[in-house]
């Protein structure tokens, strides 16, 4: 297992290793998402891969392409994290997650770059007040749709659909402003 003490937390922010990792950030996160398509898990996997990579920085030959190495590490970490996550789920939900995982493995996921984040901020600013509040509640305050439904006397499905459509709306907005080459 990975140990906190091994991580060079005091690495310089613009060290060559970190720049290299930043260049492969989208690749690792996209792969992690395909291999571990569960809520929040891809982010955990990507972080773990970067930490493990940095922990063994001295072992890598950085003059060569590190993509295959990162891919292998991502696969290992994703497999491990996925297994751990599956142990926590009831059987029915585990079967669903495994089914989604099988389908996701063969699909392509383009990961968001910094440009996409900048556009997303603009899109968020353009949202009407009620949608902004929903974003705050769900993504900032981590309130689930079931909890929102209980607090607002609505059906959970209605809140879920509102969140689903809000995300779709943001995606359309991002695609509208994103240069064609990035799509």
């Amino acid at each position: 297992m990975w140990d906190d003490s091994d991580v060079p937390m005091n690495s310089e922010p613009h060290s060559p290793v970190k720049e290299l990792l930043a260049a492969h950030d989208a690749f690792v996160r996209g792969l992690a998402l395909r291999l571990a398509p569960a809520p929040g898990l891809a982010e955990d996997v990507a972080q773990q891969v970067f930490l493990e990579f940095l922990a063994k920085e001295a072992e890598w030959d950085l003059s060569r392409d590190i993509k295959p190495l990162l891919a292998a590490m991502t696969r290992n970490v994703a497999r491990r994290c996925w297994r751990e996550r599956m142990h926590t789920l009831p059987e029915v939900q585990r079967e669903l997650a495994e089914h989604i995982c099988q389908l996701a493995e063969s699909r392509e996921v383009a990961w968001a770059g910094e440009e996409e984040k900048t556009i997303l901020r603009r899109c968020l600013d353009r949202l009407p007040a009620k949608s902004r509040r929903l974003i705050e509640l769900h993504y900032y305050l981590e309130t689930s749709s079931v909890e929102i439904a209980q607090q607002t006397d609505m059906r959970p499905d209605a809140v879920r659909r509102a969140l689903f459509r809000l995300r779709e709306q943001l995606r359309r907005c991002i695609n509208k402003f994103l240069p064609a080459k990035s799509l």
């Binding site: 998402l33 809520p39 669903l96 607002t152």
Partner: protein, 461 residues
Amino acid sequence: VHQQISAGQVSVKNHTEEREREALIQGYLEGSLTDDESIRLRSLLQQDPAIADLILTGLRDDLLIRGVVAEWVVASAAKTIHRVRPLHEILERVGMILDSLRRNAWATPAFGATAFAVLLIFFWIWCFGPTAGTPVLAEVQGTGIVLERSRESLAPTPGMSLRDGDILRTSEGATAVVGFAPENTRITILPGTEFKLRGGSHNKRFDLNMGKLEASVARQRPFRPMILKTPHAEARVIGTRFALTVTTNSTRLDVTEGKVRFTRDSDSKFVKVSTGHYAIAAADSQLASLPFTGGLLRMWWSGVQGNTFAKNPRLRNPPDGREVVPDFELAIAETNAVAVHVCGYVHPPVTGNYRFWLEKPPMDFAKTGYAQLAMSPTEDPSEAVTIAQTATPGNGVISPYQAVGATKAPPPIPLVAGRRYYLQANLFIKKGKAELSVFWLPPGQERRVLSSEFLSPWEGK
């Protein structure tokens, strides 16, 4: 209309499925699916694996939003109220917004306008819709009419109001007309009829126990149809013209305008009988809406060589003439090389065995012409088979089914009342004059010419 309804149903179903899919995907993305919902989403994924793309996109976009949301919330709060709203305030505002959304959906101007229009239409129908009159004996013709009220016989006079339970009896040569002023509804009770009112002054419900009536019914109020009951059936009328005839064994409905729902009492089966159609309710009859009887279609070609219809090139062309003839008794003027094709449907009045004859060709017909009668066991012409024919010129063979002028009775053909059967006769005249008649023998009746009341013209081209 069926197609539109089907398209609407499909659209509603698709919309419902889409809403369900959205809710389930969102539930997965936030990890709040129940076991049942997980099973359902898995089932949808098996049906449509493309849902996995939506899930992956959602996971990615959720991470993207989470990556910027903290910074964005702080920045936007600083721009507006310079502080982060407390959770309960945010929840309260969200609740208010969602409530407002729900309320506004019902209070949109479009909804208000639609509701107002519906109310207006309802009000208009209520105020200006068809009026409901009360039954009055409008006309009396002849002396043999009796009005029975509370077991007493009254002398009917025009203008007399009729009550629930009144029975009108008309004997031979007498006719009565029941009106419903101010509405334009009239029921003419023909001779030999027993007619009873049984619906009160506001409901048009009558019994026709025997005889015949002809009715012209104005459009009735919604949910208040005129209902006529006979010993065999019930006719439900909204607004139309029709005749209803009751005999000992059957009830016949003839609709000349509009549509009447006709229900047989014995099994509650019903047909909708529309303009130009009739139906019979009887124990041994099939309940069906059939076109009015009255004649046959006759077509003819001149300058015809040969004597068969199937192989004759001349007969592939449109006929030289076509007309509807009243019955199966045709006299062809003296002519040469003519082919005549008569076709239509026979409507048997009762179920039983029928016999058919070809009659009245010239004595030397075998030398000068050829006639053939064919009938189908259904109304499909392609199933027709020959049931009687003359000797074909040249070989002198007489059909085993029926020969012209034969003394031996033709074989019986079972027919069902309430159905119609395709019937056709072909006649070739090489030279001279010819006649063509078809006789039939219905069960329990005299042998006679097949007349127009049991025939209807072929409906094809």
